[in-house]
C-alpha cells in the first residue's frame, strides 16, 4: 500500500467510525434529539472531521459550527471513479431519468460522496434531474453592483469578468439590500448560483408561493458525469426558457469548476437536492 493510500485508508476507516459514533449518539439519546445544543455539538464534531486542510483544534468541536466556504473532502473515491460509476448507470442520451434510475444514481452518489442527495425533497421535485447546463452571467448582488467591484481578487476578475452581468436581478431579487449589508453568505450564493426551471416543476402552478419559498437559495449538488466533478450550488434564478434546449444554467464560477465551458457552452449534468436542514454544508466544490 502506498503512502498516499495510507491516508485514504485511515481517512475512510476513521470517518466511518465517526459516522457510527454520531449515529449512536442520535439513536441512544433520543430523549434530547430535539435539543438545539446537542445538534450544535454533533455538527461541530462533524465539521471538525470533515475539515481536511485547516489546522483545527479540538476546541472547534465544542464551538457552534459556522459553514465555511472551504472545500469539503467527503469522499473515499476519486473523481474518475465517480465518472466511471455514473457512466455505467446513465442513459446514452441526455433525458429525464426514470424513477429507478434516479434511485440508483442518488444512492451511488450519496454513498460515495457522503452527502445525502435526493431527487425530491419535502414532496417537491424539479422537472428533471439530468439535463444540459448552460452558461449564465453574474447576477447583481445589490443595487449598483457592477463587474468592476464584483470580485474578491484581481485573479478572479481576470478569469470571470468577461462573462458580464445580467441587467436584471435574480429570481429572488437582490442578494442584499446594499453593498454595506452584503454578507459572505450572500457573496457565495451569487458565486455558486444556478438557475433551474422552477416554473416547470410538477405542481408549480398550483403552489407558486409555497414553491418559491422552497426553491429560494435551495442547495443542490451538481455533478459533471463526464469528469466526476461535484459542487454544491444554490438556486438563485429561474430559467432557462424551454426554447433554449437547455435545462439549467450555472454561474461562471460553477461552469468553470465543472469544466462545462467548452465551445458549445453547455453539457450534461446531474442535479439533486441535498438535505441540509442544519445548514452545515458549505457552498462550493467538493474535492474528491
Amino acid at each position: 500500500m502506498g503512502n498516499h493510500s495510507h491516508y485514504h485508508h485511515l481517512k475512510h476507516k476513521w470517518l466511518k467510525k465517526n459516522k457510527e459514533l454520531h449515529e449512536h449518539i442520535v439513536l441512544k439519546h433520543k430523549d434530547i434529539s430535539r435539543s438545539h445544543r446537542l445538534k450544535q455539538h454533533l455538527i461541530g464534531g462533524l465539521m471538525l472531521a470533515s475539515t481536511p486542510f485547516i489546522a483545527a483544534t479540538p476546541a472547534a468541536a465544542s464551538t457552534p459550527p459556522i459553514p465555511v466556504p472551504t472545500p469539503v473532502q467527503s469522499s473515499s473515491i476519486s473523481r474518475q471513479e465517480v465518472a466511471e460509476l455514473l457512466k455505467e448507470k446513465l442513459p446514452p442520451n441526455v433525458r429525464p431519468l426514470t424513477p429507478s434510475e434516479e434511485e440508483d444514481i442518488t444512492s451511488t452518489l450519496s454513498k460515495n460522496l457522503r452527502i445525502k442527495v435526493l431527487p425530491e425533497l419535502h414532496g417537491i421535485r424539479l422537472n428533471r434531474s439530468y439535463g444540459l447546463i448552460g452558461q449564465e452571467q453574474h447576477l447583481p448582488r445589490f443595487v449598483g453592483d457592477s463587474i468592476s467591484q464584483h470580485f474578491d481578487s484581481s485573479d478572479d476578475a481576470t478569469i470571470y469578468a468577461s462573462y458580464g452581468m445580467t441587467p436584471g436581478r435574480g429570481a429572488w431579487g437582490y442578494f442584499a439590500n446594499s453593498k454595506a449589508e452584503l454578507t459572505p453568505e450572500d457573496n457565495l450564493r451569487e458565486k455558486y448560483y444556478i438557475a433551474v426551471q422552477t416554473f416547470l416543476a410538477p405542481g408549480w402552478n398550483e403552489h407558486v408561493s409555497e414553491y418559491k419559498d422552497f426553491f429560494k437559495y435551495r442547495k443542490m449538488l451538481l455533478v459533471n458525469p463526464e469528469n466526476g466533478k461535484a459542487i454544491i450550488c444554490d438556486i438563485a434564478d429561474a430559467g432557462p426558457g424551454e426554447s433554449t434546449g437547455k435545462h439549467l444554467g450555472g454561474s461562471p464560477e460553477v461552469m468553470k469548476y465543472l469544466e462545462r465551458v467548452d465551445g458549445a457552452q453547455k453539457g450534461p449534468v446531474l442535479y439533486f437536492f441535498i438535505d441540509d436542514s442544519n445548514a452545515t454544508i458549505p457552498l462550493g466544490p467538493l474535492t474528491l
Binding site: 491516508y7 470517518l15 459514533l21 439519546h29 446537542l38 483545527a56 479540538p58 473532502q73
Partner: protein
Amino acid sequence: MNIKKGTLFYSHLISLEKITIEVNNLHISKEEKEHLLNIASSNIHFAVLDVVLSHLPSEQKETFLEHVENDDHKKIWEFLKEKVENAEEKIIKRSEELLEELLLDIAALKK
C-alpha cells in the same frame, strides 16, 4: 504538528501524544496528517459526549450541554462530580479504548 491541548473540559484527561506521534510518522503530507488528527479529535469528542450523556438522566443532559457550550470547565466538573460517579475514570476509559482502536489501525498499515 500537534493538537492544541487544554482547550476542552476533558483535555487534561486524554493524552494525544501517541496518536500525534504515530500520525506524524506516516509518510503523508502535512495537510493529510492534520485531517487525520481532526477526525481522531472528532471521534474522541463524540465518544466523550456519549459516555457523559449515558450517565445522566434526561433532564440533566441539557444542563450539561449548556455548561459545555459556555466552556466553563469549573462548572462542568462541579456538575459532573455531583451527577456522575467517577466521571473522570469513565471518560479516560472510553477515550483510551477509542485511541487504542485508532492506533491499531495505524499499526495495521505497517504489516
